[in-house]
Amino acid sequence: MFDDFGWENLPPLLDGMLLTAFLVVSSGILGTILGFVLGLTRTGPNRPGRILSAVYIGFIRGQPVLIILFFVYFVLPLMFPAASVSRGVTAIAGLSIYAAAYIAEIVRGSLLAVPVGQSEAAEALGMNYRQKLRYVVLPQALRIAVPPGIGFLVALVKATSLTSVIGYVELTRAARITSNINQEPIATYLIVAALYFVVCFPISLLGRWYERRLA
């Protein structure tokens, strides 16, 4: 079966894998930054900020990723013609919007997991909110946030496959194109499964390494 795969079809699949990895890295970074801000605002002293981020998190977590992608790609340009963007930008934006909501919840949970006594000790020493956050609460919260954060990144890898539906040629889309060409779906999808694993496994390793370092 692999004999008929046609190894000249491998480079397009590898290109797809690279684009998948690129999507994970870019939306992972953007989503982490946005999610971080949302998570801090969600637990912060500013009430309108808390409400706004709660609404964002609640609403986005209640949407399928596919709907977010459709919204950015099809609906926004209909409402605002200037908002018409390429498939790549849509893919990154949609996944970042999705990732931010989940990472915000991870950040929020980690902040709340730091014992309240730590906060009180910092306040009793005369620290203001920023100092308390920066020197006492965040360093402890980030350690707590890393394992679930890694878990979410792995989930994000798999979510990138949904961008194939708007025509972005990442690994899943590349797989469909290839199997249409060589008519060897079994071999093609087995190879694609292996390639997804190649993207996910280093992230899992990173998480395992981190947890061992803590122990």
Partner: protein, 243 residues
């Protein structure tokens, strides 16, 4: 007379539960005040109101002339003058002992690293932990951690130290080392408010003992007055159980 803390008609409610029902209290400079009373009497809540870790429902708390409930008061600035030691130590687990002590002086008081380090060394010697400067709190006993917490609070050179049941979470054999440090502080004329169940400590070190029950001050006076010449039945009943 130079009052550091003035509390007037302090009330504190948690929802419908009234925990403090009008406390009046003045703490003079260099005074050591011990607050005693049964669990749930409100003594810890009272102490936490003194640096606004608990909000005040009504009444006033004035520290060094700064009214805590006044919106114009910069709370963080007032708190720099009020050291607090907690029952659960609350040392910072992600930094070693020296950094625990240096953190607030460098970040809040903006001392140079050298100055803060010097301060930390002096304090570590005072609490007997010079050899533990580079150790992380997880490697220390409860008593050692509590002494770190005391040194950390002292590093801000506060006007007054608040102790919230500092020995209640300790193994019996490490209680003594913490009480020794507190006794030494009292002898150096540090102003202290101590919530405690250590009646021996209160008797020996306190200038004044305050007995709180059900959110009111039932009785106060010198240790001799409160412990040996008890006036109120509630105080007598409490003391008969703990002494």
């Amino acid at each position: 007379m130079n009052p550091i803390i003035t509390v007037h008609d302090l009330h504190k409610n948690f929802g419908d539960l009234e925990v403090l029902k009008g406390i009046d209290c003045v703490v003079e400079q260099n005074e050591v005040v011990c607050m005693v009373g049964p669990s749930g009497s409100g003594k810890s809540t009272f102490l936490r109101c003194l640096n606004l870790l608990e909000s005040i429902t009504s009444g006033s708390v004035t520290i060094n002339g700064h009214e805590l409930n006044d919106p114009k008061t910069n709370l963080a600035t007032v708190r720099q003058d009020v050291g607090m030691v907690f029952q659960q130590f609350n040392v910072f687990p992600h930094m070693n002992v020296r950094d625990n002590i240096m953190l607030a002086p460098t970040k809040v008081l903006k001392l140079s690293t050298e100055e803060a380090r010097e301060r930390a060394s002096v304090l570590l010697e005072k609490v007997g932990l010079t050899d533990k400067a580079d150790v992380y709190p997880s490697k220390l006993s409860g008593g050692q951690n509590q002494r770190v917490a005391i040194a950390r609070a002292l590093a801000m050179q506060p006007q007054v130290m608040l102790f919230d049941e500092p020995t209640s979470a300790l193994d019996p054999e490490t209680v003594g080392e913490v009480l020794e440090v507190m006794k030494a502080l009292a002898e150096e004329s540090m102003t202290m408010v101590v919530v405690t169940h250590e009646m021996g400590f209160a008797r020996e070190v306190a200038d004044r003992v305050i007995f709180i029950d059900h959110g009111v001050i039932v009785e106060e006076g010198t240790p001799t007055e409160v412990f040996d010449n008890t006036q109120h039945d509630r105080t007598k009943a409490f003391l008969s159980k703990v002494l």
